[in-house]
Symmetry: C2
Subunit: 331 residues, 2 copies
């Protein structure tokens, strides 16, 4: 099929209108802040982040000539699940900062953050199941649930490889795919399914999401080594402070000479080194070995793969743009 | 319709066969223990508890002449969600003991328990969505998700009323309904929906579950004051140690004379009192004021209400028995 822009009435407005619609939908599912649960959930959701997953869900629908309105609640549900995972992740990592301000656990306490994550997750499921054709909603929800299972497994795997510089680049790539690419892929797949896409279209959009999500997370892992703290909005030293081997570090470990490898070994073993100095030292090695450039190259390659899967879909302009945005982002 | 026992081939075997079937199904959804996620989830699930919720789901299906097999995966999914909530609850309450042994957080660590709870929850959703008619699976899942939302809200409310003896019996009854009765009710409702029950049948089974669940939790709150530690399988002193005002304590506070009320005030304010002495002192007041007897009376009343809702359903023998078991249990 030719790559034509479909009738605007069938696909909704531009992305900032989509952002507004998704945010309204999020508020509808989480409430106004009438009790502690709603207050904590609202604090976790707003001001909202990039809303990448709900936007992708909506844009995947548009890519197959689907309408925006019927996927909005589902898209908002995916964002609830994503933010719930962030809230729990900050408990796991003991991260005090998220999106440039106090993480939910830091602000409200661990018990409250844990329960708010659970509440947000269930609000997400309720939103996903709230309407539409049962024959579409069911497989779309299944896709998201399977992705969430992969995500929790990857997060658990991450706790296992902490402090382990020998866990291999392949393992960290698995974690990246499970932790991030899976849900981003499911968001695209769900948008397609809910819009009545054909099987090949659905598969293409799912693959697009898998590649895009991989590019996104590689870029995310790279940010602490390329952007100062205030730009990336998260504590740049977090991964190093937690001795969490990320892709740039493992690539550096593979590419390093004996002296630099020993430096990394020491940093990952010696908890007495203060986090800022440790981060700076790792930063130097990641740059010097070419690991930063290699990680950037891989992100670019996945983004290109993502764009390639769009070939033949009715309307792909926004999804192609998003692949570019993801790989060039500075935060 | 007369209260007849339906054809055994249509309804499956007795409850211990149901237990076996549910346990097999749980293993199918959680795996064999090939990675840390599976290991932690298996440890949380087995040896299994009473399996009250999946058994109720199956028995609700049988109550409307439904077959066991088509609801088994769904029933196992509900148990996964329930156990996930227990794993998280033990993090919130910092409880080292569950079912007579180390809680998941105590055994594996808080991060691992948090992630296993999330993984178990998603395994539960996957199981619920795994098969059957979409037109039935969707509303059945919605009922469970709504119940889980009520549960997380109630758990959050519980953290707010900690140490507050003036939060009122009505508030604690709300917590009981949200925390326990909601999911038990949804388990019964889902069993009915999945078996193609009529609307009045579905409503009756939902109400049965709401009453039964309320009776169950009142009994559960009472156990620390009537059963020694090794019988109830959980640390009897937990509620008092956490200064969590439970129904028996709030009833005692209402019924107490000035001296006993002052005693309770002191115990709930003074953190230097050791948990065992505090528990014994509360125990004495709960018994002396008649609060224990009043709580037992309320549990009995809800169990009677549960049985009354069964009137007119095709096969109610097991559900009626379960209402008795719940209110007479010693653990």
């Amino acid at each position: 099929m030719p790559n034509v822009v479909p009738d605007a009435s069938a696909v909704g407005g531009p992305s900032d209108e989509v952002v507004h619609l998704v945010e309204s939908e999020l508020r509808r599912w989480v409430g106004k802040g009438d009790d502690l649960m709603e207050l904590v959930c609202l604090d976790a959701l707003f001001p909202s982040g990039k809303l990448l997953r709900p936007i992708l869900c909506v844009e995947a629908a548009r890519a197959v000539n689907g309408a925006v309105q019927p996927v909005l609640a589902f898209a908002a549900g995916i964002e609830c699940l994503h933010v719930a995972s962030l809230v729990h992740d900050d408990i796991v990592d003991q991260d005090p900062v998220r999106r440039g301000r106090a993480s939910t656990a830091e602000h409200f306490g661990i018990a409250e953050a844990l329960l708010a994550g659970d509440g947000l997750s269930m609000a997400g499921h309720a939103a996903m199941l709230s309407g539409g054709l049962a024959q579409r909603v069911l497989p779309a929800t299944r896709a998201v649930v399977d992705a969430m299972r992969r995500m929790t497994q990857a997060m658990m795997r991450e706790t296992e490889i902490r402090e382990d510089l020998t866990c291999s680049v392949a393992t960290v790539m698995d974690v990246i795919r499970g932790k991030t690419a899976a849900l981003i892929s499911a968001a695209c797949e769900a948008g397609a399914i809910l819009s009545g896409a054909t099987q090949p279209q659905t598969l293409a959009l799912r693959q697009y999401g898998e590649h895009l999500g991989t590019a996104f997370q590689i870029r995310d892992d790279l940010l602490p080594y390329t952007s100062p703290d205030h730009v990336s909005g998260k504590a740049a030293v977090s991964d190093v402070a937690n001795r969490q081997p990320s892709l740039p570090v493992l690539l550096a470990y593979e590419l390093a000479d004996a002296a630099d490898r020993k430096r990394l070994d020491t940093i990952f073993r010696d908890e007495s080194i203060d986090p800022a100095s440790a981060h700076q030292a790792v930063c130097d090695v990641v740059t010097r070995t070419g690991a930063a450039a290699e990680a950037a190259r891989r992100a670019r390659s996945y983004a290109d793969d993502a764009r390639a899967t769009l070939h033949g879909l009715p309307y792909t302009e926004r999804l192609a743009e998003l692949a570019e945005t993801v790989v060039n982002r500075q935060r």
